[in-house]
Symmetry: D2
Subunit: 331 residues, 4 copies
């Protein structure tokens, strides 16, 4: 069984895990999962502990936290604030887990293309985070208590700079010497439902092939020499994935309701998901139908989720930022 990341086309560990667990009909060896329900916010913690687990779901060994809040679509500003606060809390537990000291210097990298709305998450977060490094450099005596040294940059994308983001970031890391890199990126998921409603934090960095742009070299501890925490939000889905997920839902629907799914869905009912996806892609691709798509309301969604991430990071990184009122510090 081919369970490579490509075949399921998701950057979310929670989706890869769910999908493979369903294929094998149970828990995956080497992967530990924990789910917390926090009044409209579903938090899933996945620890990929062994190479075997990593191979199985096509994700690196490491810790993944996913926060899902379907209610974000309804512009619920209370839920937005709660999600930002939750993000701050989970992010802090990551910092502790990685033994990042309170005084550690942080560089935030906003990957993606500012001018392609569904790929503009990273640059939008960079615009909204509290940047302080220059105060520490230029007037260290005057920086208030409770602030950490933070810098932030959006390095652009290969197609518009001609240089791999990874190389640009390496150069900046060597000059500005942060102790930790946080990389923000837009992702692809396999479910329209999760687009713009889900935030993933991972301590594995950004690996080649992930994200919706071209980041062939990755941003990892090995490459940059400092730990890299990745924060991602799915903003696009392949059309073929929508079709496949829908057939999947139909199979589940008819199995549950009619026991006639064979009759209704024919062989589609028996193909494993990967085979079916191949079939769907075989049909769609030659016709130019297999595009990456995003919801019509992407402009508003991406602005909202960028604000949530910026607010959460400001509260997590600076003790002086009141974590009960995280939104007050962003634009």
């Amino acid at each position: 069984m081919d369970t490579s990341e490509f075949s399921i086309r998701t950057d979310l560990a929670v989706e890869a895990n769910e999908w493979v667990a369903r294929q094998i009909g149970g828990a995956i060896p080497g992967i530990h999962t924990e789910i917390i329900d926090d009044d409209g916010i579903k938090v899933t913690k996945i620890d990929v502990q062994t190479e075997e687990g990593a191979m199985a779901i096509g994700k690196q060994i490491g810790h993944y936290i996913t926060m899902e809040a379907l209610g974000l679509r309804q512009k619920d500003s209370n839920l937005q604030d709660r999600l930002a606060t939750r993000l701050a809390k989970e992010f802090n537990s990551f910092l502790k887990h990685l033994n990042i000291p309170v005084a550690a210097k942080v560089l935030i990298i906003g990957l993606g293309n500012f001018h392609v709305t569904p790929d503009s998450l990273g640059p939008l977060v960079v615009e909204n985070v509290l940047v302080t490094r220059h105060y520490f450099e230029l007037m260290p005596d005057q920086v208030s208590e409770g602030y950490r040294e933070v810098s932030a940059i959006a390095p652009g994308v290969l197609g518009t700079t001609g240089i791999e983001s990874s190389e640009i970031v390496q150069g900046i890391v060597e000059k500005s010497k942060p102790d930790l890199v946080i990389a923000i990126d837009a992702l692809a998921s396999r479910s329209l439902q999760r687009v713009n409603t889900t935030i993933q934090i991972a301590d594995t960095g950004i690996h080649p092939g992930s994200g919706i742009g071209n980041k062939r070299k990755g941003l990892t501890h090995e490459i940059l020499g400092v730990p890299v925490i990745a924060i991602g939000v799915p903003t696009v889905v392949y059309a073929s994935t929508i079709v496949n997920s829908s057939i999947d839902l139909m199979v589940a629907h008819f199995q549950k309701e009619t026991n006639k799914s064979d009759q209704i869905l024919g062989m589609l009912n028996h193909l494993d998901e990967n085979e079916r996806l191949m079939l769907v892609k075989e049909v769609l691709t030659p016709l130019g139908h297999d595009l990456l798509v995003t919801p019509k309301e992407i402009d508003q969604f991406i602005e909202d989720v960028a604000n949530i991430i910026a607010s959460g990071l400001n509260a997590a990184l600076h003790e002086a930022v009141d974590s009960d009122n995280v939104a007050a510090y962003t634009h």
Copy 2:
């Protein structure tokens, strides 16, 4: 058989016609169709001649011209220029057909929301058309030969103004007294392929329920008192439509290639398209999956197609604009 516009969810006459013709297995009484292939631009002219034809495809009696150029996705600037030129030509034939005189005053209405990228087509076209009415009003003696009186406005959407676009336009028409209204709008189609690659011109105006926003009262000859030509481009598709069209493609694929479509697709193979769509929607809707989606590259696509329309209109409306070099007059 329910063939209402809603059930097939397309604003394109060419799709409604194609779909119904397939259902009934032949030409539709009361509808005349003509297809021209112009080196990468497919022009389809549909005349809905009778109430029977109108009922059958869920479109008003009138003339519809659709220009499809799949190559637009490849940023082929030569094709863009040719499409603008073709649009100018087809638009002129519309003007002649409607007996609109050369000196007729034109008001261009850009429907949609500037801040929602897939709905920003109308406002973007308005920004790029050549506006001349104020010269005719303020210094009529100094206007060069070959220009027509043109005004243009983007009236916003109900959700942000609180007023129906139709009411706003009525008010402006009464004050500015144009002889013809051209309404530009973003549409929904049933095929991802047609999104941002297709332009429809129709002499039927804008009717309630068409377009991707809320335009409940319509912009028609009856309401405004002057002829209304609508120009639309599909920029979004319902997720359920993508799924349904894909199953449709799979049915066609397996019928052609294997003769085993029954075996592979089960009952899906036998449902008519409308029944299948109901099924797909029944499964997707409760799960919040049935969103309107748009391609990831929408920002660039919509800018390109808005320029094509503005260029085509400038050439069609002003004799002084060189129709061999239409692009030189837009921004």
Copy 3:
């Protein structure tokens, strides 16, 4: 003495009044002035009571309230909130003074060009005000207590629509039938200091020649048939006005400090301000130096002040909006 509006080139009653009072060396007959200092916000109320007063300062008979808060330049968010609250209060006193009932329907007009930053104030305010008219029209039973019927539109500028804003607004007023129009516009002042730090409210409407764009026909009670309250913020200054105001400051400086202003400034010291402005313009104009200019930081300034106005209006117009926390309701 020519004291026409043109010669002093300001849209602010407070500047026209100050300037003329200085010329004549005392209070102006027919004009009543009151100044309140509210901890960093200077509120000046000017009542132009007679035609004589109106002629003297080149402003219409009516009430003018100016709020100046120089601290706005320092991005003081506390001051921003206080100014919005003050605006709400002053605006409410205007409504009472004009006998506008609580249930009166309001149409907000955002004059100016969204794509010319210093002229984008009106469109930016329109984007941020709470619009409710469609709820009253479509589901009147479900509108909560404490909300008023509000609609809002940015009609564009003559150069891009080809139609006078005044005509467009007349058409919309006739169709949507508001009881009150509020017109927001960017203004010119004679002092760089007041640019983006000053808000003027006037019950006189918008008159030809005021504002920084071309609004030749005005928006007034006479033209629209309903009362018009104008809210304006100076965003630009003529270069020649900067020069003239500076010489003015130098004259004042040397008269105070050295008693040698004659010696230092020569005849400049003795020219009245109007003569000197003519002199400055005579020198600058042929050289193309007499442009309208705006501060380098205009993008941020205009966004901030648009938010203040939208917040203040939301609190003033809807009782349900908490006037102690006005900012929470804007974007």
Copy 4:
């Protein structure tokens, strides 16, 4: 006499040179000047040849070319094309003069803040230049003849990244190893007339204190290890400089026309320009009047001039770009 750059507050060598030459009443030792008039485009070449010359005008030793085209304000698209072509030609002569080979790899740096319109020149140029480095890296065999390896990045500003642009660029240069850096920046001038009508090319790089933002460390051959050509356009002027330049114009005016300038202007007539500027600043600064200002139409101006620079650079850097039709390659 203090002739430091600060005192005259211009980033243009042509203004510094003109000003000092006037002060001393003749040519400046160590500086060679040549003026060419090209039908509406005035080209001034200034060679600062000695330390003495450099000290005198407060500019580095090196070559400066200034192209002034006052007609740009009138949106003359023919003049825009001619200026782009002229820029390409002058830039090429710079490359030859510096012995930069045809195959040299180029990195274009767009300094400034994308979100502050008058400071967005650099980022706008970066968006519009032809970037090719990734093709050379990823598929070197398929790159057509006549193209050079070009990359481009907008590193942001200290206030939003927390890192000096100079450090960021150093890091990127070390990783991407260009043979030449071209730095684009918005400048301050002393004349409103020159704002957005003037382009300066210099082989001296960017020095601390120049430009309108905070670039304290500079981008120079010494710092980056490769030659740096700077391209700048004045987009702002200090209010005090406008006043001072105007008094200067008045002095010239009255000396020429009336021989009564003493009488009219008093001591202002006798102060040297620097003393007078001090006086003006002494008066304006405490009152918060000494802002950097930009013309009201800055949005359009800066877009136009960014396109001219991008077009000119594309033609200068790639032989395959037709230098007779430079504009066709930009957006």
